[in-house]
Amino acid sequence: MLKSKTRETVVAYLFMAPFLVIFASFLLYPVFYSFYLSFRTVSPTTDMFSVFTDMKFVGFSNYLRLLKDFDFWWSLVSTGYYAVLYIPLSIAASLMLAILLNNQLKGHSLFRSAYFLPNVLDMFVVGIIWLFIYAPHYGILDRILTQLGITYFAEKGVLANGKTAMLGVVAALVLKNAGFGMILFLAAIQNIPVSVYEAADIDGANEWQKFKNITLPLVVPIVLFLLITGTIGALNAFAEIYAMTGGGPQMVVAGKTVGATNVSGYYLFRQFERMNYGDAAAISYFLLAITLTISYMNVKLLHRK
């Protein structure tokens, strides 16, 4: 019996070998390699043809510099702002679409497809389309609003205005991604047996009571799931920012000039682009610490109920 398990183990690892080799070299090793790089920096003496083997050891100075860097702290704040806007809006939009679709009307599956469709499209390209829609003066959004007497966007549009840029990015994302949450909510809602609602009807419950007492508790796990994926999404936000705002527009916060949508993922990319590989690696460790903290808090939250 033991011998057969040994044999099974050999076979199993052979089957997993292609996956594990890629996993180990491109996902597991990078976590440690990134840690190593975060203590090094590209110096003027670094050989440009083998940058990564010739970076200078600098101890904790990458981390210390980040802690003193206003832009870094701002990137965390704007990531938080992104998450605070995106997560509740997308959950609300998803839930609304799911409730709308939870009927037996003819053609409801057609609407389901329509709502879900934008989800599978390329983020960068969708961002470019929104850039066009949001443009000042000529963009369709500003033209419609001007017709309605709202001239707020006439000068700068949505994305060149520090007050509305993040909202514009998030609105585009919510419309693109709401279908994903909708599918999950719909699956959860449709798992609830009709008899439960009928029993509530007999007890004289109204629509709102039924929603609050039956539907809502059953969709809580989905909300938590969307909370986690939304948080990770905020920390990974890049293509939408790159397409729509490039981290801008510039605005002044606490006497310093910052980019209104310079979220941490984009900030990391900018460091990377300037060949500040050590700093970028250090940022990624900060992001990892944040993610683990948030995940831990989420798990705690899950176990409390």
Partner: protein, 282 residues
């Protein structure tokens, strides 16, 4: 009698209201998509005009995008297809092999390995940017398909999806094949794969999509003069060139988006099933 009539009217009004709300939702969600097509078929220089006017012939912008020698769009398109297809196939194959042993074999370290793999799903993808780039640079994989694809074919989600599904395949099938003298590879190839074709299609489509839109990675592992640029990266690098030509930009966007729309419409059942399975694991 009139009460029945009244109820009918109530039902009718109710569904009318529902339909109008549902349509409003669809208009909002799909607006960018329609706007892209609307602008892509406009005559040159009229991207911002709201009058309904069409380029002659209708596909003029698409042709001029495709034929512009300074903007090798056909190349980008082929690259996108190659990268997404190979990425999808490799991920599906590797994950099917891995998911199979997690579903059907008892081996040392199984549980620990599984939980370890799942826990890595929490790591934000941005974390891998610098080290993966360093590794690919050291391997001299810059501007190559393998550099664009291989670092992203180990999908833990894929392993999970496969395991979930393959657990439902009866073990007796495997046992009887063993008695008939089938080898491990034969069991995998002739029993597991055919029985899992639906879930493998799902994973292929989801990973095809992932690689099609793996924008940041394709942006960093290619230099601007690379011959391996994908459509979105091509769009990004040539944005300056087409900044004023919005109708051409939108025509180019159509090429990035329409293939995915077609795939989605043909196979939406697979997408939706895959995503639902992935999410309700708790």
């Amino acid at each position: 009698m009139s009460q029945v009539q009244g109820q009918k009217t109530v039902v009718f009004v109710k569904s009318l209201i529902l339909y109008s709300f549902m349509s409003v939702g669809a208009v909002f969600v799909l607006f960018p998509f329609f706007w892209m097509i609307f602008v892509a078929v406009k005559p040159e220089g009229q991207a911002f005009s709201l009058t309904v006017s069409f380029a002659k012939p209708l596909w003029k912008n698409f042709v001029s995008i495709w034929c512009d020698p300074s903007y090798p769009f056909g190349r980008f398109f082929i690259n996108s297809i190659i990268v997404a297809t190979s990425g999808g196939l490799l991920t599906t194959l590797f994950c099917a092999m891995g998911g199979y042993v997690f579903a059907k074999k008892e081996f040392y370290g199984k549980n620990i390995l599984f939980w370890f793999l799942l826990s890595t799903m929490m790591i934000p993808g941005m974390m891998f940017l610098v080290p993966q780039f360093a590794i690919v640079t050291k391997l001299h994989w810059i501007n190559t398909y393998r550099g664009m694809v291989l670092p992203h074919v180990a999908s833990v989600f894929g392993i999970f999806l496969m395991r979930q599904y393959m657990e439902t395949i009866p073990s007796s099938l495997i046992e009887s094949a063993k008695i008939d003298g089938a080898s491990e590879l034969q069991i995998f190839g002739k029993i597991i794969v055919p029985l899992s074709s639906a879930v493998m299609t799902t994973l292929f489509l989801l990973t095809f999509l992932f690689h099609w839109s793996n924008f940041l990675w394709h942006l960093v592992v290619n230099t601007p003069d690379s011959s391996k640029l994908t459509i979105p990266v091509g769009l990004a690098l040539f944005r300056g060139q087409y900044q004023m030509d919005w109708e051409k930009m939108m025509a180019a966007s159509c090429f990035a988006i329409i293939p995915i729309v077609i795939i989605f419409l043909l196979a939406q059942k697979f997408f939706i099933e895959g995503l639902t399975t992935g999410a309700v694991k708790e």
